[in-house]
Amino acid sequence: MSDKIIQKQDLPDFLKSLKKTYEVFAPIKENGFHRFKPLKGEENIDLNFTNTRLSPKSLLFPQSERMFEFNLDEKSADANIVKEAPKDYPPAVIFGIRPCDAKALRVMNVNFDNPEFRDPWWVRRMESMTFVGLGCNEPSSTCFCTSVGSGPFNEEGLDVLLFDLGERFLARTLTDKGEKLLDEAGVKKDADSAIKKKADALKEESEKKISSKVPTDKLKEKKVNDLFNAPFWDDVAFACINCGTCTFLCPTCWCFDIQDEITKKQGDRIRNWDSCMFPLFTLHASGHNPRPEKVQRVRQRFMHKLKYYGDKYNNGVACVGCGRCVKYCPVNIDIREVFKLMNDL
């Protein structure tokens, strides 16, 4: 593909021209933290962030999504018929997504789009979106992407990768979608070899800055039962308050619950994020709960991410090392420590 140049001073114009064709989502700082929001003007974008507090997964997999609607009015012709809730999928750009989060969407993709099942909403959104990544010049001390198959300038899941070189961005197109996007925005100037060299050096330098490493090499060969029955779970789980912080902030957690909500005769079938940390997650209609205590729920979260996912999909671990759960767990349960415990059991 190709390496182009976008001058920083031209960024507002670039975004403006994108907005002619696309809905643009970008990191915006509000109430003290960054998150992806639709860009209204070009002025409120803020690229001075290590990562957004909430991951961009909600753009493809919203916390609450109306899937179907139905009408319970017997008098109406379509009574009791469940219909897909109308939605549109305008072309959209996720601008400034970090490489770990782009990789996370690939991790989730095996769940939502596979030979057995294709989640229609996920698939259509994936198709309608173009991902313009922003490499990380200053990774945080909690970033461990390089240990889990990604990196501060990893290309997986991206259509364009931006290298922040001070005055300008080098924009590396990685797919046809990416080519098309830069084309439409009128980005023509090619990067010369000196600039390309700078970009490569930046990448190398950033990778070296990742100070946090986790071991994963032995996870695959470990027996599920040995990990499941490992002696450390009570200790890992003690502090946990079983909240939804780690799973809701995580860019790879995909679990959901489906609920019908009815107002008068009009019903909606809604899909909501759920979390394996909640007792209700596994509660059976009989009242039996196979994961009655928090230790079982904590174990499930880590076993799913570090063992079951890899065993099932042969696709690494279901953690991209973004560090959100490390930073925001209120009681400092640190997945990096659990990597060590599980891998080195």
């Binding site: 290590t50 003690f238 502090a239 909240c243 939804g244 400092n332 349960i333």
Partner: protein, 316 residues
């Protein structure tokens, strides 16, 4: 506060060795400079894992309900009050506990430090009695702890544990008459619509993760009303009505029981100060019943008692 560490370890070791208790609930050093992790120690040899700093912001009383063994628990002022609430509400027995009181000089709010640093990352901290030095790439600042305390700690009037079996240091002087309710009064003065707007705005980004509820020692119900599925009282989506229902109802369940320990606010991953809900109720309970939660293990919380001489006619 850091000077308490040795004392905590010493006491913990002793009471485990002497079998006064089976386990100790305390804090250990966090993996991040501004964090600590609640921990359970059952081996006298491991008591050197116990730690104390100005970032022990979770409320350890939260870990008591349903426990059967004899427990040594580290308690700052607010934790001790929540322990008292638990005792009164039969969540734990006084005889089960050996309370290691920590006279508290207030917890430092990591968010205030993070926001002061505006994106720069803390790599290391050094605490002294009144100051905290934060270091990172290309910076070093020495900050006055008092300027970075959690909001609840700024106005806390019970920094010394109210019940304890031993104390790790000399009592600290209690604050004289701070007015904790300035901002509550401002909200009271709003019209009903403006007030609704204030609270709607407060929780508009709530992700219903329930960290606030789960960090709170008061929220020990076996099944919280929002988790009840048969019947289901509250919707599960992030619909505003359901989110508001959660917060308002939870706050009412805490009325007369909340110690304003701040754990709920500290736990929220997106910085929502849910104490705005509970503090109005604390203020009212104080004004109406002259009561503050957790100051005694004799008295039941004002909202679950009945007095024949109640001044309100409707209840007599």
């Amino acid at each position: 506060m850091i000077e308490y560490v040795d004392k905590i370890r010493e006491i913990a070791k002793k009471i485990l060795e002497e079998k006064t208790v089976d386990v100790i609930i305390g804090f250990k050093k966090g993996t991040l400079p501004l964090m600590t992790e609640p921990t359970l120690i059952n081996d006298a040899e491991k008591t050197d894992q116990l730690y104390w700093s100005s970032f022990c912001n979770m409320n350890l009383a939260n870990y008591l309900p349903k426990r059967k063994e004899k427990i040594g628990i580290i308690a700052k002022g607010c934790d001790s009050r929540n322990i008292a609430v638990h005792i009164v509400e039969n969540q734990i027995k006084r005889e089960q506990l050996y309370i290691i009181g920590v006279p508290c000089k207030g917890m430092v709010d990591r968010r205030k430090i993070i926001s002061f640093l505006d994106g720069k990352e803390v790599k290391e901290i050094i605490e002294s009695d009144a100051d905290i030095t934060v270091k990172g790439k290309g910076f070093e600042h020495t900050l006055k702890k008092d300027d970075y305390l959690q909001d609840n700690c700024r106005t806390c009037m019970h920094r010394n544990p109210v019940i304890y079996d031993t104390m790790v240091g000399d009592l600290v002087e209690e604050r004289k008459d701070p007015d904790p309710y300035d901002d509550v009064k401002e909200i009271e003065e709003m019209g009903s619509e403006e007030r609704w707007g204030f609270f709607s705005n407060l929780v508009k980004d709530c992700i219903r993760c329930y960290a606030c509820r789960n960090a709170c020692p008061l929220c020990y119900c076996p099944t919280c009303f929002v988790d009840e599925s048969d019947p289901q009282w509250v919707g599960k989506s992030i619909d505003h009505t359901d989110t508001m229902t959660f917060h308002i109802l939870r706050a009412y369940h805490c009325a007369g029981r909340c110690t304003d320990c701040g754990a709920c606010q500290q736990a929220c991953p997106i910085d929502i100060n849910v104490r705005y809900f509970t503090r109005k109720l604390n203020k009212d309970v104080l004004a109406l019943f002259n009561s503050e939660a957790g100051l005694s293990i004799e008295e039941r919380p004002p909202l679950d008692t009945y007095r024949p001489d109640d001044y309100d006619k409707f209840i007599r």
